[in-house]
Structures are given as C-alpha cells and as structure tokens.
Subunit: 343 residues, 2 copies
Amino acid sequence: MPSSSRMRTAGRPTLEQVAAEAGVSRGTVSRVVNGSLEVSAGTLKAVQDAIRKLGYVPNHAARSLVTRRSDTVLFVVSESDARVFSEPFFAALVRGLSQELSMTTLQLNLMMASTARQHERVEHLVRNGHVDGVALISLHGDDPLPRNLAAAGTPVALSGRPMSDMDHVPYVDADNLGGSRAATEYLYQQGRRRFATITGPQDMAAGIDRLAGFRSALKGRRGVTRRVAQGDFGQASGEHAMRELLTVDPEIDAVFAASDLMAAGALRALRAEGRRVPDDVALVGFDDSDVARNTEPSLTSVRQPVHEMGRELARLLMTQIDRPGQRLPPAILPTELVRRESA
Amino acid sequence: MPSSSRMRTAGRPTLEQVAAEAGVSRGTVSRVVNGSLEVSAGTLKAVQDAIRKLGYVPNHAARSLVTRRSDTVLFVVSESDARVFSEPFFAALVRGLSQELSMTTLQLNLMMASTARQHERVEHLVRNGHVDGVALISLHGDDPLPRNLAAAGTPVALSGRPMSDMDHVPYVDADNLGGSRAATEYLYQQGRRRFATITGPQDMAAGIDRLAGFRSALKGRRGVTRRVAQGDFGQASGEHAMRELLTVDPEIDAVFAASDLMAAGALRALRAEGRRVPDDVALVGFDDSDVARNTEPSLTSVRQPVHEMGRELARLLMTQIDRPGQRLPPAILPTELVRRESA
DNA sequence: GCGTCGCCTGGGAGCGCTCCCATGGCTCCG
DNA sequence: CGGAGCCATGGGAGCGCTCCCAGGCGACGC
C-alpha cells in the first residue's frame, strides 16, 4: 500500500512546503509573502528563493477564508437596458476598469443583473464576502440596490449620476453639462441663431444634464430661438423629433442632439426634407461613437473619456476598500468636442 | 471588558449555527445544502427552515478550500486587437455567456490580457485553482495559451476558430462560410454577374472563411466575373479596396464585404464614384452590426447569433468542467441573411 | 427472538492560510 | 556583569466547509 494514501497534490506547493524548503516556519513565509518588514535580510532571501524554486502561489481560498476578504470586485450591469450594449460604451468602460484593477491583486467579477432575483443574488454575494466592492452601471432611476449595499457598509461606486440622491455613494460621470454647453456654444460661434435640441429621456441624469447644458449656453443670448424636442437616445426617436422640429420651424439652422444615434436619425430626416448639412443646418451629436464616424457627413460630436471613466470607477472602489467609511466626491470627467463634417 | 472577545461575526451564520438551530449536525446540514438524498424528510425540512430563518449562505472560500473547485470561470479578452472585433460583438458575447452561467452557481471572472505577463497571470490563476475553466476570445494566431491550458487539463473553450490546430480545444464560431456563400448566392439570384469581394485579413479564420464562402457560391458558375480585394475589417480599408476594385473593373455590379465596417467604407467609395446602391451596385456586409442599420442606404448583411454563441461558449466550458477530459466538437452556429436596402 | 442489513446521522480530520502569543537570543545600559 | 528590552521567529489555534468513517437504530428474515 505504498503509493496510495493522500498523495499530496503535487502541482501546488503550500506555505508549509516553502517553509520546509527555506528552513523556516510557516509564519515567516507568510510574513514574506505579505510584505511584512519584520524579517531579516537573510531569511527574506532564503524564503524568496524557496518560493521561486517551488513556484509557489498563495491559495486564494485559504487566505480569503481567514482574512474575510475576497480580493474581488463585482461589476453589475443591468442588462435589461439594451441601450447599454448597442454602444461601445460598455466595452470601453470595462476595459478601463479592468486595466486599473490589473495593477492590483483585485479580480473582476461580472454579473448581468436586471431582475429583482438577480439583485438579491448580488446582495447575497456581498453579504457572504464573495466580493469586496461593487460597481454598478446603468441603473434604473429608483433602484434601491446601491443604497442598500452602501448602507450595509459595502464599498459601492456608480457609473452615471444617479437620479435620486444616494447618501454619498460616489459615482463617475462625464461632464454632460459642460460638454453640451460647449457644443452649443460652438454652434453659436459659427453664427447660427435658430437652435434646436433633441433631448434624451428626461428621467435619466444624462438626458437632463445635456438639455441643461444646451439651455445654459444660450441663456441670455439675444436674437436666438430655441426649440426642444424629446427623444430617447435611439435613432428612430431622433428622426421623428427632427421632422417635428422642422414642422414647427423650417428655418432651424443648428441642432444639438443628445446622442449620436439621435443625430444620425436627425440627419436622415434633414436629408429627406432637402436640407444640406452643414450648409443649411449644422448638427452636433454626443458620445463620439462609431456612428459619428460612419454617417455622411460624419458627425461633430462630444466625446466622453469612457476608458478613463472606467479607471476612475475602479479607483473609487479601491479607495473605499482601503479606507472603509470614507466619503468620496463624484468624479466628473471632462468632455471634448470632436469636430467633423456636420458642424 | 465583557463586550470584547472574538465577537462572532454576527451577520454571517455558519453551517454550525444552522446545525444547532435545526438540532442536527454539521454533516447533515452540509448534505442538505449540497442536495444529497440521504436525508430523511423530517430532517430535511428542519434544516431548510433553519437555513431560511438564519438566512444562511455557504461560505465560498471555505468550500472552495476543501473541494478545490472555485466555481468560477475566467473570460479572457486580448484587448490589443479589440479593434478587429466590433465592440457590440464583445458585449453580446459576454451577455450570452453570463446568461447561461447565471443559471448555475458559476461566477464569471473577466480579464483583459494582451501582454505575455498577463497571460502568465492567467496560467497562475488556473494553476492555483482560482478558476475552473477559461474562455478565450480574440486570440492571436499562434497564441500558445489555450494549448498550454488544455494540456494542463484545464477546461478551455475558444470564441472563433483558431488558426493553428489546437489539439481538440473546442470552439464556437459562426458559420462564416455558409453565411458568405448565402450572401453571394443571394446576389447571384438577383441577377448580378460581375462580382467583387472585399476580404478580411487572411491570417484570421473569419477572414479566410468568408472569402471561401464567396468563392464557393460562385464556383462553376459561368458568365460570372469575380474580383478580390483585401481589407482588414476596418472602414478605411473597405473604402480603399472599393476604389481599387472600380479601377480594375468599373462594371462591377455586386460586392460582398466581409464586414459591415468595410461595407460602409465601400458605400462611401461607390457614392463618390457616382454609383447608386443598390441600383448600379448591390452591396452586402457581414455582422449585422449597428453600422448596417445606420448607413444610407442601410446594409443588407449576414447576421451571426452572437448572443447564442456566448451561451454556447459557456456550455462548452460547463460540459468540460462536469466531465473532465471530454473531447468536444466545435459548435458552428448558423448565420442568417438580413435584407435591407443595399441589396 | 436474535442476527443482519441498510439507512441516517454524528463528528473528527484536515484543506492552506493568517493571526497572535510565546520564546529565545542579542544588544545595550546601568 | 546582570537585567531589561527588543527583534526575529516558531507554532498553536482557528477560519467554515466537505469528506468519510463509525455507529445507532429500525426493519426484516429465518
């Protein structure tokens, strides 16, 4: 019965084995692995050599069991919002998040959760210590999830300004207001005077803020007309809104659409009505997405630094994990007007 | 100093506490939690009640420590050539993957890994039992990672047919060949006879297969001309290729582009040269992406079931996790021609 | 009526790690 | 030269769970 017995899982050296190899105790190896200073230079080297020789990597489960930290953050996406996926926004955000995290030992856990049952699962995951923090994207206006989590002391960070106040839950967002204002001012500087905007849904912060930016840029200006039509960020709504606007005022010469998709729709409508862009009507979109590059004429648009927003989201989370209870201000990242053919 | 001492982390009941509450032993509770049958009806109920009452959720780390399973799968994205894969592709794939996984207890871990150092990290993660399986997307042709992992006995599944043979590493892919053939045949049936195709990069399976489909559809047909120009899936390359094609043969009346982006570029070139689409030239793209809906005219395109491909990817992984060593055939999912205005 | 079988159940051992206290040796000061 | 103090280290005690073996008990058969 020699070769039987437990058969020490050969491939994975344990702390104990490293200790034996280095001629020290478990405790000492643990200190080295975790970067404690209280180890003499000689021992340090011996242990490091042993670690290298054996190819030791700490067992995450074992560590997590005692430290009660998981070294994992959860990224929750409400998938019901199909809009999120039609845009590269999601991918770029994840990329930024992931990049920032990759500089630490933190892992990224992804979860699509729209139903209440799935939100419950998120809370379970958190309560049970599977994750150290949660990043949320694309919330529905009144979603209690972030508040619940934060109230329970879990680090939380949001992407996009939440509609209801979230008791100091930090969030990252683009400077929607500033970006819209800049876009509108740019149109004004081009000599345009008969303005229209196609808004996003007014129950979303992005929709509200972009309209506010438009208004703010035109505030107090004389000899300017301003029309507002509602859209839902989608292309069809942009086309519809544009048609409506032209009915109300056929002389419109400048349009700011709160999304590129809506701008693309507007472009269609304008063309159908025989307007030349930008000669007759100047048009600016928002997002600087792929569509903006592919329309004809291509769209002047407001770029948001999505990748950087992802990184900031990660930082917001990491800060809270390191210093629990810390109150963080929102991170509002600057936007930039990208000039193309449409304005 | 009464209130001090260990203070049993109140919020999280353990197996032991559930056992006490139900008046049984740890072992029995464990059996209930893990769905073993060897428990009498009465005990079962008592335990279930206790679990509900206490809100017990198993501690993942503890379980993982002993079972040596992590209940986590890793999704690795080589971000360096994110460019190639249109981004909605990525999002939809993740969504499918995630949806399938959400029906199990498996967690999804996401990692962007392009550099060698990061690939190393993936191998560490796997060797160290952090993950039970790995899904890989957007591989570089000769990437040894999947082979290494598979050789070590790790469940692996790929998205996209790998270029080099991977010793039975299963993959999911769209039926690129069939889709391209169908698109080309459709053009033929419309009475078109002077064909051209704009290919994807010929060092990628998708590029190769889509060209093969085009060729296959036209094989043996008489009175048909066929031109081939190379692209790289990007819009600019499509525009360039189209211009070139028109120089070679101004009479071209049908174009199959291996991506929507290239088709959009081709559209630009065609318009610039005064060709009407679809009247003078019929044009079909591939991917059925957003761009296809936003061009003017909108693009007829080959749709791949990306969401379903994500689910299949998950299934491929799960099967291997449940039955290690199982050899799985690739999953080739059907494509579908979506007719719009351009052809 | 006693032995046997099988079904449930209890609980010890141990997964790999961190935490913390005890220990031993050494330096330094009076 | 002795004692105090400090630093580096060793190793026990768990973290919460699963696995597995032993044992209790009821049912059934001879």
